[in-house]
Amino acid sequence: MNILFYESPKDGAGERLQREVEALIPQEEKEIHCSIESLSRRLRQPHNKLGIAVLLTEDLKSLSDLLSIREVLLDLRIILILPDRKEATIAMGHALHPRFLSYADSNFKDVAAVLKKMIGLSDNNNN
């Protein structure tokens, strides 16, 4: 199963996130998209092999962009990383039905722990 990442190339949080999860996922099972256009294009192709998406939003704009393609995202198990902890931002985030919610200012150890468990579950289901 491939894991899809969405993160901005200019965002330092993206690098921190990759460092935290690199031991969990082989490079060839990772798909990283750095623009909403690229992500949207990918999700409009058959994506049976994709199961989990880790979406890192650096600001409200990138969160709004994700909401604009909400319909194609809902098939995936989403780990969503929000740009801030404001109530309104969190409410926007819940519209994507994330299976786990974290924040861009965290150390992403929680994201890695949840991702590890999700990958384990998916592998068990596929076997």
Partner: protein, 468 residues
């Protein structure tokens, strides 16, 4: 004013009950025999029927199901002088509202009447005025319709709901639909994936934490329960919730108050709970892996979603809906369906349920690409194999096919030979279909099959398939 019918051979009781019901502002009439009662029911609409068991021309319990099935579906209150537990059980199982043993006080007889009339009134007025919003939930089979009735009931109340069903049956879609149709729909629908949360994170994720509550808690954070305030909290895979957390969560469910990790102050949250599981919670309670008290709290209203194999007739509607959606998503033209395509879908047992069906349709659309019609060939191989095997088992060989005797063993080929012949035959059929579907377009045939030009020619030659 409601209409009440009493079917009892005790005229004195009938007169007294009629008079009393009249005082209550309703219209009551009586029949002394079953036959007369049936005539009344067929000529007039009744809301409630008092029905005696021993009548001169038959048994009231036998007549009960028929009365319940009449268009008005009246509530039936059984009144009997020969009460017994088995009769009471039979009455309730047959749809009776209540079972009263005679002699009984007039109050004891009219209280169930008041309740039954109240129930009918609420049932009529409580029906949703608008159609249910059920995005992505497709089905017209009786099993699904029964689930939609429960969905409407859940949306109109604030009670806890447990959605039970195999993986891929659409539990989350139902949870979302309950939220979308409820008065809480403008607030958050918060998903808690109990299976994905490591045990060390569950409490802080659910209840939140204060700054410094643990090593990495460098700032305070609300938990998901708080974020579901005035909205819906959806506990997916609730069976995976660790036992210690179950105990804490039970209290939260009772009081809607909790303490974030590290905090001494209680926080309130007015959330509505919907939980889902593919596990048998009763069995988990028996084996000590789930709390009995929590299970009963969760089960206030249970929606059991049927596996797809138990509502096969919805497969066509589901396919039409999802293919249209996928074509729109992939920005391809719409596709037609060959009858055999639906036959192959209907012949499969779908262990992965609707989710597996959607994945199969997605695969079929990818395989069909520029084709206008979906054929079984476009489906994943496991479904095609199943369809092929089923068609063979439906048409067993006529000559001694069912009998395997000692001679059969002698004539059976070796597994290697059998496999080689079967593979050869499958290859021949595949190539014939390939050429037929592509209308002899060899470039297209190469694209679909993934074969090189020389290998394709070689195989066509081997199987004597000519291309004009």
């Amino acid at each position: 004013m409601s209409n009440i019918l009493i079917i009892d051979d005790d005229k004195m009781l009938c007169d007294m009950l009629c008079r009393h019901i009249g005082y209550m502002g309703h219209d009551a009439t009586y029949s002394l025999t079953l036959e007369q009662g049936h005539k009344e029911i067929s000529s007039k609409t009744f809301d409630v029927v008092f029905l005696d068991v021993r009548l001169p021309d038959g048994n009231g319990l036998d007549a009960l199901p028929g009365i319940r099935k009449t268009p008005a579906q009246p509530e039936v209150i059984i009144i009997t002088g020969d009460g017994d537990p088995d009769g009471a059980e039979l009455a309730i199982r047959s749809g009776a509202w209540d079972y009263i043993e005679k002699p009984a006080s007039i109050e004891k007889m009219t209280l169930p009447l008041v309740r039954a009339l109240q129930y009918r009134k609420e049932k009529t007025t409580g029906k949703p005025a608008v159609a249910l919003k059920r995005e992505g939930i497709v089905g017209e089979s009786p099993r699904m319709k029964a689930c939609f009735d429960l969905l409407a009931q859940a949306a109109n109340s604030n009670t806890n709901v447990l959605i039970n069903g195999e993986t891929g049956t659409g539990k989350e879609l139902f949870a979302q639909a309950i939220h979308d149709n409820s008065p809480r729909s403008n607030n958050n629908f918060v998903v808690v994936d109990c299976a994905a949360l490591p045990e060390t994170l569950v409490e802080s994720v659910l209840f939140g934490h204060i700054k410094g509550a643990f090593t990495s808690a460098d700032r305070a954070q609300d938990g998901l329960i708080k974020q579901a305030h005035e909205g819906t909290l959806f506990l997916d895979e609730v069976g995976e919730l660790p036992l210690p957390v179950q105990k804490t969560f039970l209290r939260v469910l009772q009081e809607h108050c909790f303490r974030p990790v590290g905090s001494k102050l209680e926080v309130e949250s007015d959330f509505r709970l919907v939980a889902a599981t593919n596990r048998d919670l009763d069995e988990m309670v028996q084996s000590g892996r789930f709390r009995n008290d929590l299970m009963f709290r969760l089960k206030a209203l249970t929606i059991k979603l049927p596996p797809l194999r138990e509502h096969h007739r919805d497969i066509i509607d589901l396919s039409l809906y999802h293919v249209a959606k996928l074509c729109e998503r992939h920005k391809t033209g719409t596709k037609g369906f060959s009858p055999e395509f639906f036959e192959a879908l209907a012949g499969y047992n779908w262990p992965g349920n609707v989710r597996e069906l959607i994945n199969a349709l997605d695969t079929a659309l990818a395989a069909a690409r520029h084709d206008h019609t979906l054929f079984p060939r476009h489906l994943p191989i496991n479904i095609r194999i199943h369809a092929a095997r089923t068609s063979v088992s439906k048409n067993p060989p006529a000559k001694d096919g069912a009998k395997v005797n000692a001679d059969s063993f002698k004539t059976l080929p070796s597994l290697w030979d059998f496999r080689k012949t079967a593979a050869n035959e499958a290859e021949r059929r595949y190539l014939q279909d390939l050429i037929s579907i592509t209308k002899y377009n060899l470039n297209e045939a190469r694209r679909i099959s993934g074969l090189s030009r020389s290998r394709l020619y070689e195989l066509l030659k081997k199987h004597k398939i000519s291309v004009p």
